[in-house]
Symmetry: C2
């Protein structure tokens, strides 16, 4: 009952047409200053606020982006989301949020349709690339007719992607271990279904190869990103690669598990073994010892994504040109602490 005031009420009370009110609303120039003032005053008096829903319907533009995320209970995705919210706020866009119940979304179509029916101006796909959960891109994106931007995935023609350079980050981490004089550098990876895990492993392999070391199956073990898995993967790895004196771990959480099991078996870090993680989560500074890690700025990732999407949307709108897909890469940086 509070806000039943519509553009019509304002028009009537101000003694003008609804059009004129609309013009004032949209800051058009073709209104006399005198009229504009009068209308604005009436708006205040009536505490009038336009209906965004009606505007969306009429303009065919909502100033809303759809955001798809997954695994919010982990720290990474929410950092990215935070970057998205802040940049969207800056640029005047709202966000319609969906979290995938499982990474392997098989009902992408209804989701995209839902966004479309809400007339979002663009979509940010911030869920990780795992297995073939991107299979639908070629089928769906073209006739969706809404710009979609993907986060964290392999370069692909036809779609714009913003991602941390996982391969290069992993290379930096491994090179650091090499420079520290480590000769037997192992790797604990995330699940191989994850693109990020594969990239990081590849970075480790590449760096070692460039250092003249050939990697073998004995030199790496598989984890699932969790501290617990990091721990068991490490024990497994140590058993089959006993000479290991350095390890690049696929993420900080698994590195936490590694550090803990090192403590238990009485090995000193970094004296006996150097450890380097990936992600640069805030806690890593307080592990014992503080963890050397590759920091990826996920907040920035989200911000860049929104900025790019906005730019594409507005270009499409004003110049009616469809921007060609880009592959935007963000470089992570090595943070050296006491674990190496």
């Amino acid at each position: 009952m509070a806000d039943k005031t519509t553009i019509y009420d304002v028009a009537e009370k101000a003694g003008v047409s609804r059009q004129t009110v609309s013009r004032v609303l949209n800051n058009r120039q073709d209104v006399s200053d005198e009229t504009r003032e009068r209308v604005k005053n009436v708006m205040d008096e009536l505490s009038y606020h336009p209906s965004a829903v009606a505007q969306s319907l009429s303009r065919q533009k909502s100033y809303i982006f759809g955001v798809v995320t997954a695994g919010l209970r982990f720290i990474g995705p929410s950092r990215t989301l935070s970057g998205i919210t802040s940049k969207a706020e800056e640029l005047g866009y709202g966000l319609l949020l969906k979290e995938l119940a499982s990474y392997n979304s098989n009902n992408v179509k209804p989701l995209l349709q839902w966004f479309k029916s809400h007339q979002v101006d663009g979509i940010i796909w911030a869920a990780p690339e795992i297995e073939d959960n991107r299979y639908w891109i070629k089928d769906m994106i073209p006739d969706l007719d809404i710009p979609v931007l993907f986060l964290t995935m392999e370069e692909q023609s036809q779609v714009t992607i913003v991602t941390t350079d996982n391969l290069n980050g992993a290379k930096k981490a491994t090179e650091h271990l090499v420079q520290q004089g480590r000769k037997h550098i192992g790797h604990i990876s995330g699940p191989m279904e994850w693109w990020e895990a594969r990239q990081r492993k590849l970075g480790w392999e590449t760096a070692l190869k460039e250092a003249g070391i050939e990697t073998t199956e004995q030199m790496w073990a598989l984890g699932n990103w969790s501290p617990k898995s990091g721990r068991s993967a490490f024990l497994e790895l140590l058993a089959k690669f006993p000479e290991m004196d350095g390890v690049f771990v696929g993420n900080d959480q698994m590195a936490l598990g590694v550090l803990e099991s090192l403590l238990e078996i009485g090995k000193k870090v970094p004296r006996d073994l150097s450890v380097v993680g990936f992600d640069g989560i805030a806690d890593s500074e307080f592990y014992c010892p503080p963890l050397t890690t590759v920091y990826q700025n996920q907040d920035e990732l989200g911000r860049v994504a929104v900025a790019e999407l906005t730019s594409q949307v507005e270009q499409k709108l004003t110049k009616n040109i469809v921007v060609e897909p880009k592959y935007i890469t963000i470089q992570p940086e090595l943070i050296i602490r006491r674990s190496s």
Copy 2:
């Protein structure tokens, strides 16, 4: 260009009126089976999907909730958000998300207005209560005319609140230390501007009082939730309360800092000092030693909030009754690990 098909196209092709199509869309019973079938087939052929925006405008109901969060870069809020997304999905609601740039939001009014203009059916305020950042409730909520549900705040008449029972959780933690035979139990709190921090401190005081111990200023120190602050607060506390043999820390992250500084100064946990945290974040199981902590199910918090809000919205809609405010409390549970 893909989805220019409207209800009108369907009506025309099916040889019925737009209303009939609408009836089929809304599963009304007053349509003959034969007509329904025909219309449905045409919908499929044209791959027609109704516009949610047009429906919102027409029905004056959007099936969207507004969500306000803050501090997504920390792990707590995003867990809650995850609970919110999953339950909302189950109940058929979408989410319009806003993250406060700072905890002390002074521009609440435009935010609420924005939600209102988007015709959200309800609002979940999931940002923490800090200082007087709730001052606006009495002024704004009544004439907003949209149900608003608050998370994590002090009971207050007129508004529905869902919260973890921080006081009781803190009591449990402290009582546990007492039962372990600790005689000198200190506390490191979060910032006193935070309601949660005050509640947890109060729980510590209450438990000690019930155990016959009077708390003094010497027995607690102030942190800011971060590991770093936990560390310095602990050192400060140890200096003025040297006989301390147990400490209840306001959250797990600060407890991490405490554990690290204990390692540095060479004190054994729990032999010399027992440590208990609060939150039950996943990592706490992998601190050294694994942390005893009070687990609060933030996912559930979000789910309960959505369920309650939905219930209120639908009751208001069907029976046209405004549900009276509730204060819903979720009990956290003590998880005992090696740090105590």
